[in-house]
Symmetry: C2
Subunit: 148 residues, 2 copies
């Protein structure tokens, strides 16, 4: 007796999510990599600081769900490129506050425009309502909005 045929790999959500995420990440990376030679983690750190302002490494870890060693190395590279500076906190001298330099902020603004263009291209394939629903679903799946 053959296996029951209900399962469809192409429809399995974790698999499909990965294909879509990889495709969009890679094709977007092709855009910004050529621009600043930046890796994905560096991009993420830059964007967190750009959109949320001053943050600590741990705060970025929690918000972006990236391992702290990755953050540590990305921060180092961004410091080397003079895109951000560390500053020891006076209240708690273990903590270092990260903030963009002028150059870092300029790079952020530039890359943000690139991101907006890219996003626009993705959204053009769907209706406004579809995109809104997609976001809600992805946020839920990512565990950002716990349904409680």
């Amino acid at each position: 007796m053959p296996d029951k045929d209900e399962f469809s790999l192409q429809d399995f959500l974790p698999y499909l999510l990965n294909l879509a995420a990889e495709e969009s990440s890679l094709s977007f990376q092709r855009v910004y990599k050529n621009r600043y030679g930046m890796l994905r983690t560096e991009w993420r750190v830059l964007f967190h600081l750009g959109t949320y302002g001053e943050m600590t490494a741990t705060e970025i870890c929690d918000k972006a769900r990236i391992h702290k060693t990755k953050i540590s190395r990305a921060v180092q590279k961004l410091v080397d490129r003079r895109f951000l500076v560390r500053e020891r906190s006076d209240e708690d001298r273990r903590v270092e506050k990260l903030k963009l330099t002028t150059a870092g902020h300029a790079a952020f603004r530039d890359l943000r425009a690139v991101a907006e263009d890219y996003e626009e291209k993705l959204r053009a394939q769907f209706t406004t309502g579809e995109v809104a629903l997609l976001r809600v679903m992805l946020r839920r799946l990512a565990g950002l909005d716990d349904p409680k």
Copy 2:
């Protein structure tokens, strides 16, 4: 003058897709890793062979969009575990056909049940129509269904 405030990192699709994909992959991996000590690429190879039957490494590459060196190593591990066998094609002796062994097929059936349960849990958060739309959108974003 402050930056314009339109861009939202938390809504940026490539970023959100990655968070959702990573979260679902990791939480699903926690389930099957403890079961067979399998890595994601091995899981994918096993599932391709289980759902589509006999395939070559190149066919899996194309279908799953995984680099051939990753496939090569995953196949080797699955052979070591006696989950699949290679067989040189007679028509073209460069090609090797991959097929699951009895043990491999049993593992596939077992893991497929796990996958179905997991999928069920994910889908329970949404309506049937929402899930259907999500799939369509993800397939489009993954470049599986080219809109042409």
